[in-house]
């Protein structure tokens, strides 16, 4: 049995310690907001926070997450009102939407560590999150807007 803390709730899961965290989150715990894209750390669809870092859950063994705090897109905010989520809505960022839980989880780490990111900072943080629909320009715009909201305390 492995005990996991996901979105501030404790779960006991009976799985192989080598199982990727993504599988456990989606198939065992049933939180399907986090997506599977490539399975080899190349696309960013599966990003969750592990003790605050934007790890790729498809290559992270569940054993690495034991005793750590996991946050998925479902737990990013209580009422879907993280500045990034509001900016995403306002600018209508997603197209198909598949990549965006990963995009948001990556962007959240950027904004936490750099409340006023430049385009270059956004590139450095986000270049590993692939969007096959090409919503990159709206993602950039929304991160700037969210940063502004966050700075103004809105």
């Amino acid at each position: 049995m492995i005990t996991l803390n996901v979105n501030q709730k404790s779960y006991k899961v009976d799985v192989d310690p080598n199982m990727p965290l993504l599988w456990v989150i989606r198939d065992v715990i049933g939180l399907t907001g986090t997506k599977y894209g490539c399975g080899v750390a190349q696309c960013g669809a599966c990003v969750v926070h592990l003790d605050g870092e934007a790890v790729r859950s498809c290559v992270t063994k569940v054993s690495r997450a034991e005793g750590k705090k996991i946050v998925t897109i479902e737990g990013l905010s209580q009422h879907n009102d993280h500045p990034l989520q509001r900016a995403w809505q306002e600018i209508d960022v997603p197209q198909c939407g598949y990549c965006h839980s990963g995009q948001l989880m990556s962007a959240a780490v950027l904004l936490r560590e750099n409340p006023n990111p430049t385009d270059k900072d956004i590139d450095a943080a986000m270049a590993g999150n692939i969007c096959r629909c090409g919503t990159y320009l709206r993602i950039r715009k929304a991160i700037h807007l969210a940063a502004e909201m966050q700075r103004k305390g809105k």
């Binding site: 934007a54 290559v59 690495r64 780490v109 450095a124 270049a127």
Partner: protein
């Protein structure tokens, strides 16, 4: 300060003092250069082997072959992004070194690089310490000649502040050893780890000489 003004050199002819100062600083510089090349921060007397510039340079040429192989050089890039693959292309996603060498924001090394290798080709190799050299001590290998790289490694101020003992120890570091356990599809360095350690030790113990340009 008061003590200094008490030592005004009024009793010595200015010329003598100047000459003495020059001689002293020349000796000082020579000693520093000698120590820096032979035994960075360590005691030259502790060498088990005899100083031997020919053997030393020869051993370094083997060391150099390893350090310039993609498995070592890819994480000692000249730019801010690590390199990837046997052709040492820039790491996809153009991930950045960051201040401490562990990446930036949501693109930190250990977000993808796990404590162990991920199975399969084109998957992230792993190590618990995975990172680049930090921004204030880049330890660049890419583009260095054998002479430049030897001088850099022997320079305490460019080698991550390692003295002789620490340099010898470094060949056994888990991240250095990871070069020989890089997962599927990556060509290992041209020497085995044992051969590398032997050449590394020999280079340092025989005086840490840099090859001529």
């Amino acid at each position: 300060m008061k003590q200094h003004s008490a030592m005004k050199p009024t009793n010595f002819p200015l010329k003598t003092i100047t000459v003495m100062a020059i001689i002293l600083s020349v000796i000082g510089i020579m000693t520093t250069a000698f120590k820096a090349r032979v035994s960075p921060g360590g005691n030259p007397e502790s060498s088990k082997m005899k100083r031997d510039s020919l053997a030393s340079v020869q051993a370094f040429m083997d060391v150099y072959k390893v350090l310039m192989s993609p498995r070592c050089m890819n994480c000692h890039p000249a730019g801010e992004a690590p390199l990837q693959g046997d052709d040492s292309h820039i790491h996809i996603m153009n991930v950045q070194r960051g201040k401490d060498g562990t990446g930036l924001y949501s693109a930190k090394c250990s977000n993808c690089h796990q404590p162990t290798n991920v199975p399969g080709e084109h998957t992230p190799p792993g190590n618990p310490k995975w990172q680049l050299p930090p921004g204030d001590m880049k330890m660049v290998f890419q583009g260095k000649t054998a002479r430049q790289l030897a001088m850099q490694i022997m320079d305490y101020n460019q080698n991550g502040h390692k003295n002789k003992e620490q340099l010898l120890e470094h060949a056994h570091d888990t991240l250095v050893k990871a070069a020989w356990n890089m997962g599927e599809g990556r060509t290992p360095p041209p020497l085995t780890h044992e051969e590398f350690v032997a050449a590394w030790n020999k280079w340092i113990e025989t005086g840490g000489y840099a090859p001529a340009e």
